[in-house]
Symmetry: C2
Subunit: 322 residues, 2 copies
């Protein structure tokens, strides 16, 4: 079957089809539009179009601040609820339908027949495995996980994971295409649950829940500690290079040889806490307090402004060093 | 003894004494100088003075970029190896001697007698408890942990923890003083090992070590995933508000009610991995590769430039919302 998979040069991609009308599907559509592609958004029902366009217009504010590509325009967007029409002329497909394995398998069964076999299909799934998603797809060679970080129009990371039936050429193609499109692709060495970034997020999240559960810190105090402490270092260097630098002249070697034994100290709790009603309410109430009762849109605008500011600020910084 | 503890108005602090010639002690000295204070640096031996001044001059580059206070000058620094002289006229003392309990207890025994009893003494310790540190101090009421994040001249967080003998008034005073001096103080509700930010750092660190140990990701891939993914969100919002926002209109409540059960999935490994020679070398080699063989000073300059850029960028952003 590898012989039937002849993708076009990723530099020649012009038409991108995005499946899904939620924040991820809309975020991808906005991103590709801003990078000069023609975008077709497949939506389940045409009733979803106004909400989709609102999300895209909101993303556009930030994308303009970061700089649009030549020819980029919201006019290059078409919405359709006809799947065949949506994918038949696509050069690349980014699927972001809800995280439900039955639903995804059904969509890939259809896509496998409707989308030209030389077209790579990437799934935005954050938790499902491509091996499962591609199970009922007749042309699974070109199906790959391409998991973005929210919001996909501002955070560059895309984690790439193959399924059992995925062709290595599809992975290579996707890496090259995402790079051309300005993303930061990361190919996983193994198909591990949660991939890399979400697993690391989950680790911090569990310890945060324990702290709130034990009344050692509130939601606001945890966020205050991170944003004023390690957060900016993580945005800039990540956890490993931060500790390498923190080790002074001796770097990571000094750190590990000196503080290695501290690893075994019970500084973080091991298992996830029971999500009791009380813990649930402490988390929820704390977040509402911290957001000062502002709604989702207001909070998202503030987030986007901050992320644009960080991204623009780091454009002229020397990290990663070469 | 509370009756003998009459601190001056934190607004009237003019003379700050910093103990310690390492990156933390020097970082604090630079920070207070940049905020217009007169600083005395106590160093163990006068031989350490040139290295201390180099660290302070390096910090000064960034502090100037962030904006110096009126009257701020490197000329307001005095170095001495006479502890009595260093603390007898201080309005506030920030101690950053090496993390060794015997050493700290000895220093606090001396400080307890030499420093005027109305002067608050804050310890930069990241891992020791003030209850232990103040054990042999004759005037322990005014001794408090004031743990900064590295570099202390750029990251605002200071975690404040009392010991068993610390007066509540000393904690209140220290919070007010740090705020006046432009820091972001956070008082811990309980004396927990690692405080808040370091425990959260440790959680992410353990999972990162597991990934490297299992060849699921390299050092560079982990840092790449964080800096291009959740890192900028953590710098801006912290982990809780990020998930509140990620829940869409439904916020944290939607997230927990929907995804709560996923907490029990084995997404992060529970115990810390064995720090084998092989794991140690993978971490060390990966960091050296990632730093492209650049030395500590070059890497620190790049870090400082990035942190200044992030901090300046976020000055005009609306988070936290009010």
């Amino acid at each position: 079957m590898t012989s039937t998979f002849k993708p076009i040069n990723p530099n020649d991609v012009k038409a991108v089809t995005c499946l899904g009308a939620g924040p991820i599907g809309a975020g991808w559509a906005a991103y590709f539009l801003a990078h000069g592609y023609t975008v077709t958004s497949y939506i389940h029902s045409l009733d979803e179009e106004p909400a989709l366009r609102l999300l895209i217009e909101n993303a556009w504010i930030s994308l303009k601040q970061l700089g649009l590509s030549e020819g980029a325009s919201l006019d290059n967007l078409t919405c359709t609820n006809n799947l065949k029409e949506a994918v038949s002329t696509a050069d690349f497909i980014q699927e972001s339908v809800p995280e439900n394995i039955d639903l995804k398998q059904g969509v890939y069964a259809q896509l496998g027949d409707l989308a030209p076999t030389n077209v790579v299909i990437a799934s935005s799934t954050s938790g499902l495995s491509m091996t499962d998603i591609q199970a009922h797809c007749a042309t699974p060679l070109r199906t790959v996980v391409g998991h973005p970080f929210n919001p996909p129009y501002l955070l560059p990371l895309v984690e790439i994971v193959k399924g059992d039936q995925t062709a290595p050429e599809a992975v290579e193609w996707l890496v090259e295409f995402y790079k051309i499109a300005g993303k930061a692709p990361l190919v996983l060495r193994k198909e591990i649950p949660g991939f890399i970034a979400t697993r690391l997020q989950e680790a911090i999240w569990r310890e945060a829940l324990h702290m709130v559960d034990n009344d050692e810190a509130t939601v606001e105090e945890i966020d205050f500690a991170i944003t004023n402490g390690p957060g900016p270092r993580w945005a800039l260097m990540g956890p490993c290079l931060t500790f390498h630098n923190g080790g002074g002249e001796g770097g990571m070697a000094y750190n590990l040889d000196q503080f290695g034994p501290a690893l075994k100290l019970p500084w973080t709790r091991l298992e996830a806490p029971e999500l009791t009603k009380s813990l649930r309410n402490k988390m929820v109430d704390g977040c509402i307090r911290e957001a000062s009762d502002n709604d989702y849109i207001t909070l998202s605008r503030a987030r986007d402004e901050g992320l644009v500011a960080i991204q623009n600020a780091l454009k002229n910084c020397k990290l990663p060093l070469t």
